[in-house]
């Protein structure tokens, strides 16, 4: 009984978590796969393979589009994450960088060469949280020495301040000689 239950769970869950979901449309079937786990900021490869439903041969030149249901400013809408064309093996690899943790449904549209209509298939991805910095700006100027120029300027100023502080200590040490305490 337990073996039967385990087999049932495996049949239902393995395709879901391993990301292998066969689909069939337009005389072509698509098989999607993503890694079992993904992390925010780390690239994620989605592989889509399209094969002919008639003879099982790979379909070359089919277009694949991946969309993700995003929410921004209270609006929910599908956002295109990437597009690709299948190669000789009928495979299109799409590189995605997940930005939000949680379980996400990816919607994949594909159409065969010469066809206007597209079929759709979906797959679920589990993205775990991380503290990776997701975006680094490449804009701006690059100065020779980078921040070390700034650090050395600031360091020089503080060295001068230190020299003045030592001067004050010197004043305190030279207080024994007779003199007047004011300008008069």
């Amino acid at each position: 009984m337990s073996a039967f239950f385990a087999a049932l769970v495996a049949i239902v869950l393995i395709p879901l978590f391993a990301g292998a979901t066969p689909a069939r449309a337009n005389h072509g079937g698509i098989q999607l796969s993503v890694p079992g786990s993904a992390t925010i900021g780390a690239p994620l490869e989605l592989m889509a393979q399209i094969m002919s439903t008639e003879d099982g041969t790979p379909i070359v030149g089919a277009s694949v589009t991946v969309e993700y249901l995003a929410e921004f400013g209270g609006e929910r809408s599908f956002v295109v994450l990437g597009r690709g064309i299948t190669d000789e093996e009928g495979v299109a690899n799409l590189r995605i960088e997940p930005r939000v943790a949680g379980e996400h449904e990816l919607r994949v549209f594909y159409s065969l060469p010469g066809e206007d209509t597209a079929a759709v298939e979906s797959i679920t991805v589990n993205v775990s949280d991380s503290d990776i910095q997701q975006y680094r700006s490449e804009s701006g100027i690059h100065i020779f020495g980078h921040e070390w120029i700034l650090i050395s300027v600031v360091g020089t100023v503080w060295l001068v301040l230190l020299a003045v502080a030592l001067g004050i200590a010197d004043i305190a040490r030279n207080g024994d000689a007779p003199g007047v305490s004011s300008a008069s």
Partner: protein, 456 residues
Amino acid sequence: MEAVSGYYERLVHTAVAPIVHTGRLYYVWVAFLLAIIAWGVYAYSVQYREGLVVTGMRDRILWGLYITNFVFFIGISHAGTLISAILRVSQAAWRTPVTRMAEFITAVALAVGGLQPIMDLGRPDRVLNVFIHGRWQSPVIWDLVSITTYFTASVVYLFLPMLPDLGLFRDEMRKRGSGRRARLYGLMAIGWTGSPGQRRRLGLAITIMMILIIPIAVSVHTVVSWIFAMTVREPWDSTIFGPFFVAGAIFSGIAVLIVVMAILRKAYHLEEYIQEKHFVYLGYLLAAMAMIMIYANLAEYITTGYKLNEDSEFHFRQLFAGRFAVLAWYYFVGGLLLPPLLILLPFTRNMKGVLVAAVLVVVAMWIERYLIVVASLRVPLMPYEPSNYAPTWVELSLMAASFALFALLITLFVKLFPILAVWEIAEEHEGRAEEAVNSERAPSGGRAAPEPAGGS
């Protein structure tokens, strides 16, 4: 020389008076300021408990009174050390009664200004993030570095010329039999006896500091401006923000110095040392800075107004004819045009005229900072309805407490430290007396150059 000795005795008496005599009015004033600060502490406790939601700041206009006050106080800190250093470097003979007040305004304004971003954070422990996660590429880090450097340099620059006066106060307190005070001033005077070696070292240290402090002060307000100008937002997208902010800081700094000088002159009867000519000379500096500010404003608004892209048009409309028109026009007319007129017209070129001009400038420069922060943030970045900002009682209370803290620190400073640079004023007076004697003996003789600060 008897006249010189009498002048010196009066000078010492005047300088020591605030420390040895405390009137009832002083306590009332301190209690009043403490009450405002206590209310501010309560308001802050509400903000700490409830979060920034108790302020008028939201996701679109995310800076309000706190950052306005931050820029304002950092600006008036230029009263200060920068003006004092410029006057010392240029050997302006009239500077001596002015410099001490200017220097302590700097230290106090920086201390109060530094509190403002902490209030703005909501949770003060987030300050640690600047140290833990700070990046050298960030203007926030530049700000932190330059302000802490300026504060340290300002305190050193305040302390150095005060050293002979602290020694003088130590001796005066001994003479008066006040052992506790004599010990306190003895500690602060670090063994100052006025020996030639000490005077030489002091002169050198002051000379180094007065040269060093000028670029540091310029860097501070340049970097404060870059907090805005390094952000992609239309009204802040300006190449002249750095010099514009530095000019504005000196402008507001001189104005605050004039106001503080007038109050302390009246409160501590300093009329013999802080004369009308000092107000008029500072008034000339204020008028000159007003001209620079007018030029900077013209340069800024004409170049952006000529091109007038969509965001600029929105900003111009709200500034000149919309929501902020009253404030903006006060700034242009009351803060930039009227003060130089008051100073330059012969019948208002006196202490009262300069004081009125200074008050107008102080108010106008606070408004200018409010417009830079709040009006600029109101320009929508995306096609959404512009949001509005109105400070809540919490922000207004904390603002009142900040100004009360500024006044309290000055009040306490005056009570503890020499309000006048006694030795410098005495040296200047002696120099003038000698000059008068020399000119009597040889009327055709040339005028001797003033002694450098710190004197040999």
